[in-house]
């Protein structure tokens, strides 16, 4: 049976390690890189190199950043009295793309998952408490994922922050706008009823 040359085989192996990329897709991508102009293929490798060398975690909020502080922490127009706590940088990006929030963020880099051996010490919770202690926040918005472990992480943090004079809130949950009550399951309806708001 014919085989790829050594270097192509190595590229297929490397591409196949990426999330969501199986062997077939890796082979297709490798073949694509061999067909495009050399400059285009090398631009990809250069981008990967630059990202790995330049991108790090923001010293303040642990978002991805190319300098010591990310663009959000460095922006003086952001509301410095509100802090939104998320699990991962990609959650921060989703909230930013919603365009409804102008405060600051803190990225935990995970969630407390004792069954997987992940405890509070492996997250950036200590830094969060230091920020709250030395900052002028009036509200902390817990925006961890609405899962058992996400809720547990939020509860742990809100217990830690209970000694500070600030409001700890969490994202609303319940019925999706544009859907109908008839098809919502009872847990969603219970969430919506428990979190109802005044007109």
């Amino acid at each position: 049976m014919a085989e790829w040359s050594h270097s192509v085989g190595e590229l297929v192996d490397q591409l196949g390690r990426l999330p969501g990329i199986g062997r077939k897709t890796a082979e297709r991508l490798a073949y694509h890189l061999l067909r495009v102009p050399q400059a285009e293929a090398l631009a990809l490798s250069e981008s990967i190199r630059r990202v790995r060398e330049n991108v790090r975690y923001c010293e303040t909020c642990f978002n991805l950043s190319e300098g010591p502080r990310c663009s959000i922490c460095a922006d003086p127009r952001r509301d410095a009295t509100r802090l939104c706590v998320v699990e991962q940088p990609r959650d921060l990006m989703s909230l930013e793309q919603a365009g409804a929030y102008r405060g600051l963020y803190h990225v935990l880099l995970g969630r407390i998952a004792p069954l997987d051996g992940i405890g509070p010490d492996q997250l950036t919770i200590d830094h969060l408490v230091d920020r709250v202690r030395s900052g002028s926040f009036r509200e902390i918005i817990m925006a961890t994922n609405p899962t058992v472990e996400g809720d547990g992480t939020s509860l742990y943090i809100s217990n830690l922050l209970s000694e500070y004079a600030l409001e700890v809130t969490r994202l609303a949950r319940g019925i999706t706008a544009g859907s109908v009550l008839e098809y919502a399951n009872r847990e969603i309806l219970a969430d919506a009823l428990n979190g109802r708001q005044k007109f």
Partner: protein, 260 residues
Amino acid sequence: MASEKTDALVLRTIEFSETSLVVVLLTRQFGKSSALAKGARRAKGPFEGALDLLSICRVVIIPKSGDTLDLLTEAKLQRRFRAGERNLGRLYAGYYVAELLREMTDRGDPHPDLYDLALETLEELDGETDVRACLLRFELQTLRLLGHAPTIDRCAACGSEVPEGGRFGFGVTSGGVLCAACRPATRQVVLLRGATRETLRSLLSEAAVSGPPPPVPAELHGELRGVINRYITNLLGGPPRMQSYLAAASPTIDGQGRRR
């Protein structure tokens, strides 16, 4: 292979790809199952966010033979475990229930009575029932239903009667109480009070499998917790991960592990 419909409790979820999960389930009819749920991480689809830790679902599963993962094609949420929204001690107790079920049950070995006990325990943890009594009942009934219950009435080493009253020896590796003759020659023996033996007996009784958990006197809780921790550690070949978190379920220790 034909698909099967059953009730299931989610014991663990592992991210498998951008959109899929591997889930470990305890099903009522088929025992433990590790299954691939394709597209489960998408908001829309046949799972609708039902596959969260400790959720109770109605699932459709295609069993596979050998070591291959079963295939989960549908999950409808029946009840979510909500203790994590208000009390860390109750949340960690729920995690511990999931861990014990995962470690102590096997694929294709159904225990409907254990499944029902697990659901009742989670409902109690989600409510106001005393967490410590609830967990002790769950642990001892799980041991009984799976055939690992410690011997309480007779010596675990020689089978002779062990008189009631006074302190007695409990052999962690022998699997129960020890008579005065066997105790000196046995390793890993814990000395317990007579009242502890009575409480162990009531927690292990068949009648205690449902309904409110039998009361556990506060002064005996530490002794019971210690001996059951050691017994389960010996059975599993190591301590469960959540064992160290159970302190959060104690009324004298807060959710962050600080003494109140």
